[in-house]
Symmetry: C2
Subunit: 428 residues, 2 copies
């Protein structure tokens, strides 16, 4: 095939602009690699007259992304508007119905409507790809779907929200409390318009749900992701964790168990000297584990114009080269409905509590844990000046269920101060 691949791009924020720049500035390179030209036919964005640092006059303009998506001179529709519903979804559906392939960076749309969109694309003989939706510039969808296609995937893990990792590592390095670093990140423009998407783990949860679908051949099931944000992580937890050789990360983990699919996105302790523990700032990292390949670790920028545009172009080039894969690595009709399992894989846990400084207080806590069948690996009581003693406990492996029972019983003890903090320690 040597006819040009003709793109229609909807959404000209940083990523869309980055894609336009690549297609303009690397025309020869792309043509050499794809064996055919890659060109832009038409574009669409909310605002037409805005200096984006790149000339757009060669391209037809559409105010309406649906009109763009269905143009005769567009072979591949690139959706970079964002939003789980609304124009992004309408234009994607229209593109598929009009026989166009689609590339998107829209994790929210795919997390909520991925199964339906994938099925529609496959019925129409079209492809729907989204490398840029997960972990920015890291080609992780490709690695998992294609590179590890000969593996039964056993676990997928990742730090996939750069903003959260920035906040957590900054709290540690600068010794600042959460609120202050949050405000700093806000000033720097690192946060989404709705910051809960970042710090509540929702954005990272979307990404995890997409990876889980590919890994385990299940329909995307974002609603079953157990979400816990980083808002309650304190500088004290970060310091105590560091004292014991750990780092706190907003870690996503998906694994298939005998009881069903576990998907959780929550602050976890990981060993400070592991690749995940060493990950600082806004960088992303995904760990893929398979029965054959053992463990692959991928690290790279999780956001930004260049890296995200690079990921979009990876998909575009696949399509230009005639590589046409199923959205989730296997035909959508064959994907099983996931049986969600509340995180049941046993793990050690980190517990921080405040006890009244009086005889027998610790014995009561230990008794509660013992009754729940939870044994203690390590315990530390820190020096303190007032009548409340900060106590840390690292348990041996236990289930979240058993732990929740113990936490409930503890909260009723007359020696317990504020509600204990419990964070999972992930083996990596």
């Amino acid at each position: 095939m040597t006819e040009p691949l003709r793109l229609g791009i909807a959404g000209l924020g940083t990523v869309g602009t980055g894609v336009v720049k690549i297609v303009r500035q690397k025309a020869n390179l792309l043509a050499a690699r794809a064996g055919r030209p890659v060109v832009i036919s038409a574009i669409s964005a909310r605002t037409r007259d805005k200096d984006r640092g790149v000339s757009l006059s060669d391209y037809a303009w559409e105010d309406d992304p649906v009109a763009l998506a269905t143009r005769d001179d567009v072979d591949l529709f690139i959706e970079l508007m964002g939003g789980s519903d609304g124009p992004a979804k309408a234009a994607t559906e229209a593109a598929i119905a009009a026989g166009k392939d689609v590339v998107t960076a829209n994790k929210a749309m795919l997390a909520h409507h991925g199964q339906a969109l994938a099925a529609a694309a496959e019925s129409a003989g079209r492809v729907l790809r989204y490398e840029a939706a997960v972990a920015g510039g890291i080609p992780v969808i490709k690695a998992l779907t294609e590179g590890l296609a000969g593996n039964d995937i056993t676990r997928v893990m990742g730090v996939m929200n750069g903003t959260c990792n920035y906040i957590l590592t900054r709290m540690q390095s600068a010794g600042l409390p959460y609120d202050e670093v949050f405000e700093e990140a806000n000033q720097l423009g690192y946060l989404e318009a709705d910051p809960t998407l970042d710090v509540g783990g929702i954005d990272a949860g979307h990404k995890l749900a997409l990876l889980a679908s590919i890994a385990f051949g299940t329909q995307v099931d974002f609603d079953s992701v157990e979400l816990e944000g980083i808002e309650k992580v304190t500088i004290a937890d970060i310091r105590h964790a560091a004292d014991m050789g750990y780092r706190i990360k907003l870690l996503g983990v998906a694994q298939m168990t005998g009881r069903g699919l576990e998907q959780r996105m929550s602050p976890c302790l990981v060993p400070a000297d592991s690749p995940l523990g060493q990950l600082e700032g806004g960088t992303n990292m995904v760990v893929l584990e398979g029965d054959m390949v053992e463990q692959i670790v991928l690290r790279g920028p999780g956001a930004g114009e260049g890296p995200t545009a690079s990921a979009v172009m990876g998909d575009v080039m696949d399509i230009a080269r005639g590589c046409r894969l199923s959205t989730f690595g296997a035909p959508a009709a064959g994907l099983q409905q996931a049986r969600p399992a509340r995180a049941a894989t046993p793990a050690p846990f980190y517990l921080r509590m405040s006890l009244d400084d009086k005889p027998g207080a610790l014995a009561k806590v230990a008794a509660v844990l013992g009754e729940a069948g939870i044994s203690i690996d390590r315990m530390r009581q820190y020096r303190h000046d007032d009548t409340i003693a900060p106590v840390l406990i690292v348990t041996h492996k236990t289930t979240r269920n058993a732990l929740d029972g113990a936490l409930d019983a503890m909260s009723r003890l007359d020696v317990m101060g504020e509600t204990p903090v419990a964070l999972r320690i992930e083996t990596v």
Copy 2:
């Protein structure tokens, strides 16, 4: 396409056996992911009657790999015999001539004959893939060729020989000299039959040459890789480097400069707290840098039955799914002949020398460096008991050419003991 993809596998060592196991044990998974069955028609190996832990009775047997490669019931020939020439090359050529696709793990064959084989495959409308040839289970060929296809690649780096990394990290952790750890690695079966392939950097150099071809659109040019093995790395160098915050790695670097293509595989110092510096044991790591994506780091097992078979299956599944890429990421006819440039990118260097312990000795060395235009960043003279003073110098950035001139002049100084050691410090 729903007809089965029929494999012919030549070479049933650990990797070949691993591939047979995957195809047998994961038939349903592979069929679901590929949309068609993947089956084995025929096999070939040096020894027929040998217990490989998997039943081979379902498959036709060929003593001659060329006969296997050209069978009517083989669509895809998998070459896992090894060796740059001989039966591996003959069977690969025969397979292509007979209209078969080829997957191989043979870095030596591709480093020496990659251009000719790629051209032959493309003329015949066949594909030739080799993910398993570079960095074992890490899907790095895929990441570079496909995931980063929208980038001008600026630099490719990697620790791609697990045996060398095992030796270097073991020297450091156990405080043992090279010869002793080499013998240990030999006993453990980590070394190739000809250990120079490992410790001389040749095996890793093959891999680097393949990555450079994809990265820069040039014909594979292994002969221009500047090779330096790890045989001369001493425990003293490892300790001194650690003292200054570095680790010594057998590091491959390929980059395109104004003067041409630099390819070098040599022991280098890298920061101890960088991903490359933290890489221990037999694990591999590849760093890919592009103008858009910035930096991607891939880490995983560089050898072994499971990981290498996983990489072979990645290629098999691509072909089963109809993804048919050029061998080096662009049509072979369009690849430029590389203009090799002796490593000219300036870098700081680590120098270790033994000076006679008499007044003015250091001044003479400093004068030689000064005359060569090389300035000193850091200098250490260690306490010593005899008349020879061990001296370490870290230079500011300089070229290898200027440094070689200075080393030559130094060797003629009357205060100089054994030949100075010079190792590049790579910015990572």
